[in-house]
């Protein structure tokens, strides 16, 4: 438990009960691929990072202050939630195809987290197409993929503890995971990229690090 957690706990003891939060659960898990992802970023000067998850202040500080990244925060989970709530999920693939304002080959690293698991096949392909477009040659994309379909309807906010640990902070989602992809489906999805590293964690998460091949002369 960190100092901030202790202070927060004391504050909650003194004041009125906090308003109901959407945060459901928090746990810290090991990560193997994040360290390799960070290595690809640090090899560049002023790397550009695209984060597809909700904004996490400490992550922004980590990437911005420690790694000198320029960070784009594009919360696709929020877009997905909005489409589900407004009952227009069928328009999500088209939306995703126009979602990213970034120029072609302008991003050094993409944090895709476990977003693909929550998308239908068509939306996942639209997203993958756009991510492959904006990723720079030799850039890296980090994705997490489940191996079992949990019944709960939660997203996970990934808070970087350090380069080998992530805090999983769950919060409520409009819908759950859609499908568990086989490795070959994931590779087909990102057909323009090559798998650089792949790990199966004890919590049954597959961490896959993709790299975009440099164009041949």
């Amino acid at each position: 438990m960190g100092l901030l957690d202790i202070i927060a706990a004391r504050r909650s003891d003194l004041g009125p009960p906090p308003a109901p939060s959407t945060v459901v659960d928090e746990s810290v898990f090991a990560t193997k691929a994040l360290a390799k992802f960070l290595t690809t970023l640090t090899a560049r000067r002023a790397p550009v990072l695209l984060d597809l998850g909700p904004v996490v202040g400490s992550n922004v500080t980590y990437f911005g202050e420690q790694l000198g990244c320029k960070i784009f925060v594009e919360d696709i989970y929020a877009d997905l939630d909005r489409h589900v709530r407004e009952r227009k999920v069928e328009s999500l693939p088209g939306f995703l195809l126009k979602r990213f304002p970034q120029a072609d080959s302008s991003v050094d690293g993409i944090l895709c987290w476990d977003l693909i698991d929550y998308l239908d096949r068509e939306s996942a392909q639209a997203l993958a197409t756009q991510l492959m477009r904006v990723l720079r040659p030799d850039g890296a994309l980090l994705g997490f993929f489940g191996t079992a379909q949990p019944r709960d309807m939660n997203y996970t906010k990934y808070v970087i503890v350090d380069d080998v640990a992530l805090r999983h902070r769950q919060y409520s989602a409009a819908r759950g995971r859609q499908a568990i992809l086989l490795n070959r489906d994931i590779i087909r999805l990102f057909s323009g990229l090559r798998v650089s590293d792949s790990f199966l964690l004890k919590n049954n998460t597959r961490e896959i690090l993709f790299r975009k091949p440099t164009t041949q002369p």
Binding site: T42, G57, E74, D162, V164, N183, L201, K202
Partner: protein, 184 residues
């Protein structure tokens, strides 16, 4: 309830002062009475009902609770967008504290602080950025230390040196097993 307030009052504090000084403005809690009195002149508050369209320049700290559209420039001072503040503007300040809503790019020479329930839709350029849990942000964050505007003509050679050394981690592999990537 009142006895508890007495109990938490610091023993070294004055005993004959009024129970609690009235707050001067949002964003300046905890000031001593004499300090808040001297600060009163330096903090300007734009109230909830005020709507400003155009360019807003200033050389003192400013708190906005109303609506502003256009450009806000407080180059050497702190801009606080209060919980009721709604900004559609390009913002330039020394420090920006957001408790309300900002749509537009924010540039601060010192710090941008998006508090809980604060919202920024736009790009942030600042050497330090703090985003609280529960805050909304969409856009980009650039924390590269830029040279001061006056010194811009002289190209800084130390920009690269100012970049912090990134960790090159050796991952602890105790809990994972490598997986064949193309097993399927």
């Amino acid at each position: 309830m009142w006895k508890r307030d007495e109990a938490v009052r610091p023993a070294s504090g004055p005993t004959n002062v009024p129970p609690a000084p009235a707050p001067v403005a949002a964003g300046s809690p905890g000031l001593r009475p004499e300090a808040s009195h001297s600060m009163e002149k330096d903090i300007v508050n734009i109230g909830k009902s005020v709507v400003i369209k155009g360019e807003l320049n200033g050389s003192e700290d400013l708190t906005i609770e109303g609506h502003v559209e256009g450009t806000i420039q407080l180059r050497d001072h702190v801009l606080t967008i209060g919980p009721n503040g709604r900004i559609k503007a390009q913002v330039f300040a020394k420090a920006v504290i957001v408790l309300g809503e900002v749509t537009g790019n924010v540039t601060a020479s010192d710090k941008v602080d998006i508090r809980d329930n604060g919202s920024v839709d736009g790009d942030i350029i600042s050497p330090r950025v703090a985003i609280a849990e529960g805050a909304h942000f969409r856009g980009s964050v650039d924390m590269q230390r830029k040279p001061a505007p006056v010194a811009q003509a002289v190209k800084p050679a130390a920009t690269a040196a100012a970049q912090p050394q990134a960790p090159l981690p050796q991952a602890a592999a105790q809990s994972q097993t490598p997986m064949a990537a193309a097993r399927n």
